[in-house]
């Protein structure tokens, strides 16, 4: 940890709330452009020395994410149900945010993702809308993100992807057995598998090490600094300018505004639960699709009685998340899938929504293994296997090294009923209302997952699996806690129908930008990080131009 030190009473140029995938990018862009930046992060500042392969710490206790024992979350399926305490959503909670512990899939959105409403038509019971921007608006920023962060992949290998101005900066990662089996089967079926684009270094890059294939990506922090989190890529660049202070353990409770309706800074609790007011000339809210909405709702004032930036009433609404279905296959020979990165092959043949199917939706499929020894024993075995005893033990020995999965990352429709709101009863230890999640599938979400499951099974069977099984789609048993939180401050041209404008600036507040998954109008196919970061580069670009005039 290095960088600048600012006094809370001195108004910095930009206050960034959330040091994650987007906040890290914004901080770097603004600090290198000459601005003074403070970044408030509710979690700790950890580095690779703090990480380990400890499954008890990082999967059982989900050590790099929000802890519901400390920060309660309540959940209900719909408004008529009482909300109960359950970890319904999960997000990265440290400097680097979710980019530290994510699987590191790095998919660009397709051109069609930005215009699904026009291309597909309206969907009953959903707020499907076009984005106010197009793929071409974001393309230069996708490229910038790929080069600044360090992404490995093979340009042109995915025939469904939009045009690219540059290839990936790094070649793809070596294929695993799951990738080979998936590749062979998909080609046999006439599909188009390609090497997974990932935020993991296949070769040394910008002073960082190449991946050593330890296998502990998802849920873990990378000890080699080979995963291209903002923690190891752009945040050090921001700090090196001497104009950026990362302030960890700083839990923001309110964004303050003045009589003109402009933001003036934010009040946060420091690690000793003392309240501090950091003054700023502008605020960039990058606190993820759940906490961003919650903080805006917490930031009520006389001028903003429904919460900040919420004249549309849409802050917190249209929550979307990482729907998906899982199929597994058991093979004759050892795959040893616990080695190396989680996914090495992907296909997007089923990505686009097609009205001919009779429902909205689509998905990207990847060949993967995202279990660790204990989590595999608990959740990775076929449902008809015994759960204990000599036979179970024997099967575990035969399955752990011989199993792979095919995961469908599928669409999540924006429903106005699905939301983040403030729990009226449950409070956190700081006295703030708990995050309340209201979520239920749209029928088309379920139809899409069921349809994709048939494709996943087809691929595993074509790959020669001796046994194939699928997991269910129940929200409580399989989906939650959900990640990839999107939609709760949607982007649009009409201030009555959206929260931020096409440059991520709040319609209601001239010096407030909201840049994270919350601005998403549609969910893509559940790999939002590349798009979040491209949007962050773009928003920073416009914020700098706006401030400089």
């Amino acid at each position: 940890m290095s960088g600048a030190k600012f006094r809370p009473g001195d108004a910095v140029d930009f206050l960034v709330i959330g040091a994650g995938a987007s906040g890290g990018v914004m901080a770097k862009e603004l600090a290198t452009a000459g601005f003074r930046v403070v970044v408030l992060e509710q979690g700790p500042y950890l580095t690779e020395q703090a990480y380990s392969h400890d499954e008890i710490k990082y999967t059982y206790q989900a050590g790099l994410t929000n802890d519901p024992k400390v920060q309660p979350i309540t959940y209900r399926k719909n408004e008529s149900e009482p909300a109960k305490r359950i970890k319904a959503v999960e997000y990265g909670r440290q400097v680097g945010g979710g980019s530290v512990h994510f699987t590191a899939n790095y998919w660009r959105f397709h051109e069609s993702d930005f215009q699904e409403r026009s291309q597909f038509g309206a969907v009953a019971g959903a707020g499907l809308a076009d984005w106010p921007i197009q793929y071409a608006d974001l393309e230069p920023y996708y490229t910038k993100a790929e080069y600044e962060l360090g992404i490995s992949g093979l340009a042109g290998a995915n025939p469904f992807e939009g045009p690219r101005s540059k290839p990936y900066p790094l070649p793809p990662m070596p294929v695993k057995s799951s990738g080979v089996l998936f590749d062979r089967a998909a080609k046999k079926l006439g599909l188009h598998p390609y090497p997974a684009p990932v935020a993991i270094l296949s070769q040394p890059y910008q002073g960082r090490n190449a991946c050593v294939h330890c296998g502990f990506c998802e849920s873990f922090g990378c000890e080699m600094r080979a995963k291209s989190s903002t923690l190891v890529s752009v945040i050090p660049v921001a700090e090196k300018t001497g104009r950026c202070e990362i302030r960890p353990n700083s839990y923001v409770r309110k964004i303050e505004t003045d009589g003109q309706g402009r933001v003036t800074g934010a009040v946060y609790f420091d690690s000793n639960r003392r309240e501090v007011f950091q003054k700023a000339k502008a605020v960039l809210l990058c606190a993820n699709g759940a906490e961003t909405a919650r903080l805006l709702l917490l930031s009520k004032s006389k001028r903003f009685p429904q919460g900040l930036a919420n004249s549309s009433g849409l802050v917190g609404k249209y929550l979307m998340w990482d729907n998906g279905a899982f199929a597994s296959g058991w093979f004759e020979h050892p795959l040893n899938e616990y080695k190396s990165i989680q996914a090495t092959r992907v296909l997007h043949d089923y990505y686009r929504a097609d009205p001919k199917r009779g429902f909205y939706g689509g998905g990207g499929l990847d060949a993967r293994f995202d279990s660790y020894p204990a989590s595999f024993a608990l959740h990775g075995m076929p449902p008809d296997a015994p759960k204990w005893g000599a036979e179970y033990k024997q099967m575990l020995g035969a399955y752990f090294t011989h199993t792979m999965g095919v995961l469908a990352h599928s669409s999540s429709l924006a429903k106005i009923e699905n939301s983040i709101s403030l729990d009226p009863e449950v409070k956190d230890p700081w006295g703030l209302p708990a995050l309340r999640v209201t979520y239920d599938y749209h029928p088309d979400d379920v139809a899409t997952m069921k349809w994709l499951l048939t494709k996943q099974v087809e691929i595993l069977e074509a790959a020669g699996a001796k046994k194939v099984w699928t997991t269910g789609l129940s929200l409580e048993d399989f989906m939650m806690p959900s990640r990839h939180l999107m939609g709760t401050c949607r982007m649009g041209n009409d201030p009555k129908e959206s929260v931020v404008d096409r440059f991520n600036r709040a319609h209601d507040v001239a010096n407030l930008w909201i840049v994270d998954g919350s601005c998403f109008v549609t969910s893509g196919r559940q790999q939002p990080t590349a798009t979040i970061q491209a949007l962050a580069y773009r928003a920073a670009d416009f914020a700098i131009r706006g401030v400089k005039g």
Partner: protein, 138 residues
């Protein structure tokens, strides 16, 4: 209570064909979990184990403890409790104790990892498995 929990853990991962939960020291892991990061689950253990003892007395009235039951009797008791919420907790703790990081007191001598074929190493090189080896590690 430890002896009773140990008997159940040893049925979840028995010591047939190599070390099981007992040899891995699962009970030490559970002790540690309930003293530290899972201390909020102590009450669930107290209540859950009391229910198991009741079940045992109902099924085997002359028995003194779970640990004292014969192997067949223990398996019968397991079948009677296997769909309960508390059994799922015992199973979760047993598997983390058998396959988790040895620094928590379980997975002694890495017997769990050895059983499933997991190699605890910081780095690997391709090819990783049989099928990518066929492709020459491309």
């Amino acid at each position: 209570m430890a002896v009773e929990i140990d008997a159940i853990a040893a049925q979840i991962i028995p010591s047939t064909d190599g070390p099981g939960a007992r040899e891995a020291g699962v009970i030490y892991f559970i002790d540690r979990a309930l003293a530290t990061f899972d201390s909020d689950l102590r009450e669930a253990y107290r209540v859950g184990m009391a229910q198991i003892e009741q079940k045992r007395q109902a099924m085997f009235p002359t028995s003194a403890s779970v640990a004292a039951l014969s192997n067949e009797q223990q398996i019968g008791l397991m079948r009677a409790i296997e769909s309960s919420e508390f059994f799922e907790l015992l199973r979760t703790h047993t598997l983390y104790g058998f396959l988790g990081n040895p620094s928590y007191g379980g997975n002694r001598n890495r017997v769990g990892w050895e059983m499933i074929g997991f190699e605890d190493r910081m780095a690997f090189e391709p090819p990783f498995g049989y099928y990518d080896a066929q492709e020459g590690g491309k």
